[in-house]
């Protein structure tokens, strides 16, 4: 009975959304815009969501969510266009797609490759959606038992885990980025006593840093600088005739799709880990499990399907911690969190009480977005790829203007622009020095939660840290945090090598 009731609410939400023609228009428009953003090298899904947030500020929350989730879904899929046609990933999420997508295009199978990625991405988004609707309410219910200590540790866990997994160089660079984000979150009057911290006497800083200009600065400005400074030049765009859904081929690769969807959802659910890692892990898993691993990199269809299914399934995965715990699962989800806050929605365990239909609404939008993405992809791909001819020096300055007007328009404050530029330059230098930006952004978002909950928890325990080891969830979280940190030390790695060596020699 319960399941039927839930299903009926879900379908009601779909009906409510599609009964409004404006929503349909926004749905297809945002998906198309997302595909364009994803397809153009230099523009990212996060930037697309960030810039659209400013335009949806005045809309109803449900309409705004249609726009933002649709652009997110469209952008993750759109990255495959440039990966396949010019061998340059439009977004980091499609980097793995290029390995086999471009060789397919070189063999004259660009249309087939795009047809496969279109259907695989739609299936990936759909599977992700199934996990959102089943897992998010369960986690929400479980998280109701959390106290302030758990929330403090959860924020800490988010920063440590995303810092660990997103660092390409030294692991502590990710942690440093996370703590710099936490510092930025400290700026302004503190939530409990309204004491001004690091405000330099500027009244504009009393309210703290606005999240959206910080995110636009952190993701937009470095992108503009990198593209223009490093002269990204496209190769020749491969031509194709038409795109077919390729259902037979997809059915033939069903095991790849199921495995990639699960990998995508799982990776998406880990705080701060984006679609790019999901794509790579899924590609690696497909190669390892293949009977012909030597074909990978030379135009193997499994490679294209696994990468594209996983990166789109990651969207649903990223929505699970976002909705149930208020912790973004990926950089675009961090931007979505900022947008939700602007619309007065605070994701977390109380979401089901404050907005009982919201999770259903999000899943309904994800379903509609995957459907709209599939239709748009099949019908308009030939027209959309024309944007690949646009030279980056022409569109990146336009993006700069959009970043400026976007940052300004949310708070109608020029001070937001004054902040956006230095944060953007800082983010650029950090990126150049191989510091990941996602942990910094997560730090900015989770900082207030960590700060207020730590002090509230200590108030209740009268200054005692004992509940950290006496409460089961706290204990699990602290163990994971410690294990994550310790596992990066040389001593631990040596110990593991020694143990595995002994086990191996016994055999």
């Amino acid at each position: 009975m319960f399941i039927f009731e839930q299903l009926s609410i879900f379908f009601q939400q779909i009906l409510v959304l599609v009964s409004n023609p404006f929503n349909i228009l926004i749905l297809f428009g945002a998906v198309l815009l997302g595909i364009i953003f994803g397809a153009m090298p230099g523009l990212t899904a996060t930037l697309g969501v960030a810039l659209l947030t400013t335009l949806t500020y005045g809309m109803e929350t449900s309409t705004a969510m249609v726009a933002l989730l649709s652009i997110y879904v469209g952008a993750i899929y759109g990255g495959s266009y440039s990966s396949i046609l010019i061998n340059i990933p439009g977004t980091a999420a499609s980097a793995a797609t290029a390995l086999d997508g471009y060789p397919l295009a070189c063999q004259g199978k660009a249309g087939k490759a795009l047809g496969l990625t279109t259907t695989a991405s739609a299936i990936g988004t759909f599977v992700g959606m199934l996990f959102v609707i089943t897992m998010a309410p369960l986690i929400c219910a479980f998280a109701l038992k959390f106290t302030s200590f758990e929330f403090f540790l959860l924020a800490f866990f988010g920063i440590i885990i995303s810092g660990t997994l997103t660092s390409h160089d030294l692991v502590y660079k990710g942690w440093i980025a996370g703590f710099l984000g936490l510092f930025l979150a400290c700026v302004g009057r503190d939530q409990l006593q309204f004491y001004p911290r690091f405000t330099f006497g500027l009244s504009e800083l009393d309210g703290g840093l606005d999240v959206v200009p910080v995110l636009i600065g952190a993701f937009g400005i470095p992108q503009i600088i990198q593209v223009l400074k490093d002269k990204i030049i496209h190769g020749e765009v491969k031509r194709f005739q038409k795109i077919l859904p390729e259902f037979d081929e997809i059915w033939h690769h069903m095991p790849d799709i199921i495995r990639s969807s699960l990998i995508g959802v799982g990776i998406g659910a880990v705080p701060g880990i984006g679609e790019d890692i999901a794509g790579w892990v899924s590609y690696g898993a497909a190669k390892n499990s293949s009977k012909h691993p030597e074909r990978f990199g030379k135009g193997e269809i499994s490679g294209v399907i696994s990468a594209e299914t996983a990166n789109n399934a990651c969207i649903g995965g990223a929505m699970i911690p976002l909705l149930s715990l208020g912790i973004p699962g990926s950089p675009p989800a961090a931007m979505l969190l900022g947008a939700l806050m602007l619309h007065g929605i605070q994701p977390g365990p109380m979401l089901n009480f404050d907005h009982p239909l919201f999770i259903f609404q999000v899943t309904a939008i994800l379903l509609l977005a995957s459907f709209a993405m599939w239709i748009t992809g099949i019908l308009l791909a030939k027209q959309v790829v024309k944007v690949l001819w646009l030279p980056p020096p022409v569109f990146m300055p336009i993006i700069a203007v959009l970043c400026v007007i976007g940052s300004y328009s949310l708070g109608l404050s020029i001070f937001n622009l004054y902040l956006m530029i230095p944060i953007g330059i800082l983010a650029y230098f950090l990126t150049e020095m191989q510091y990941p930006i996602a942990p910094m952004v997560i730090g900015v978002i989770l900082g207030p939660m960590a700060d207020a909950n730590l002090r509230r928890a200590l108030m209740v325990s009268k200054g005692s840290f004992l509940p950290i080891v006496t409460r089961p969830v706290c204990l699990i979280l602290i163990m994971i945090i410690l294990l994550t940190v310790v596992s990066q030390t040389k001593g631990y790695k040596k110990l593991i090598m020694k143990i595995s060596g002994k086990l191996f020699s016994k055999r």
Partner: protein, 247 residues
């Protein structure tokens, strides 16, 4: 960034991080720990200093770890070597980077707060699009220098309060000056590219984009999304007049 450059950067960053964490600790200790604030007697665990204190400790520990690693991996040595080396500061890549920064800084800190948003934007785009679209370093250097001189003149007018004097004669006088700068800069680019038909074509495209972007954005934000623009001057006023004339 290559491995050597990365380790050198790590050394510099670690020193900066350590200095930053020391500053943060000093600032944190100025916050009320056990004293009264706003009539409330504090205890250490409710103090606003608690969280920044934890962060500054973590940053300093991580800064030390980075410092040790950079020394072990030769970062400090690379840094010391690079001091004695003669670096080419004005290399092509650095010039491109400086041009981007200058464009953004002049746009955000100089033009947007003081000049009509439409004019600020065309002034920004007429510089920012062609310099990279031409993809010719000699032109980039030349145009950047000219753009800087023009903006320095604007800074001079604002600093010496000549802008207030001019504006007392005509409300939008500074907008007119900025518009004149746009026209002069446009002509300057034309003079430099008129003999090359590829550059000429690129310049016309740049000019079209430069004018069409704010022509779409300003009415959308001002009249459709009802967002007041940062500075509404001469051109936005003209848009107002047209809007109410149509309405």
């Amino acid at each position: 960034m290559g491995k050597k450059e990365l380790r050198k950067a790590d050394f510099i960053t670690s020193v900066l991080l350590l200095l930053f964490s020391i500053w943060m600790l000093i600032e944190t200790f100025k916050m009320p720990m056990k004293d009264t604030f706003g009539g409330v007697q504090n205890v250490w665990y409710v103090s606003p200093a608690l969280f920044p204190l934890i962060i500054s400790i973590f940053i300093s520990v991580l800064g030390i770890a980075l410092f040790i690693h950079s020394i072990k991996s030769g970062g400090a040595k690379y840094f010391l070597d690079s001091i004695s080396e003669k670096n080419k500061f004005l290399s092509d890549k650095n010039i491109r980077f400086i041009s981007i920064l200058l464009a953004l800084i002049f746009y955000v800190y100089l033009d947007i707060p003081r000049i009509d948003f439409f004019i600020s934007t065309i002034l920004f785009l007429i510089f920012f699009i062609p310099i990279f679209y031409f993809d010719e370093i000699r032109l980039l250097r030349k145009l950047t220098l000219f753009y800087c001189i023009g903006n320095i003149v604007l800074i001079f007018i604002f600093i010496t309060k000549l802008s207030t004097l001019f504006s007392s004669y005509y409300k939008y006088f500074m907008d007119l000056i900025a518009l004149s700068f746009f026209l002069i800069f446009g002509v300057y680019i034309w003079v430099n590219v008129k003999n090359n038909h590829i550059f000429r074509k690129k310049y016309i495209i740049s000019l079209l984009v430069t004018l069409s972007v704010p022509l779409i954005l300003c009415p959308v934000f001002r009249f459709f999304l009802l967002v007041p623009l940062p500075r509404e001057g001469l051109i936005i006023q003209v848009m107002y007049n047209i809007y109410y004339l149509i309405k």
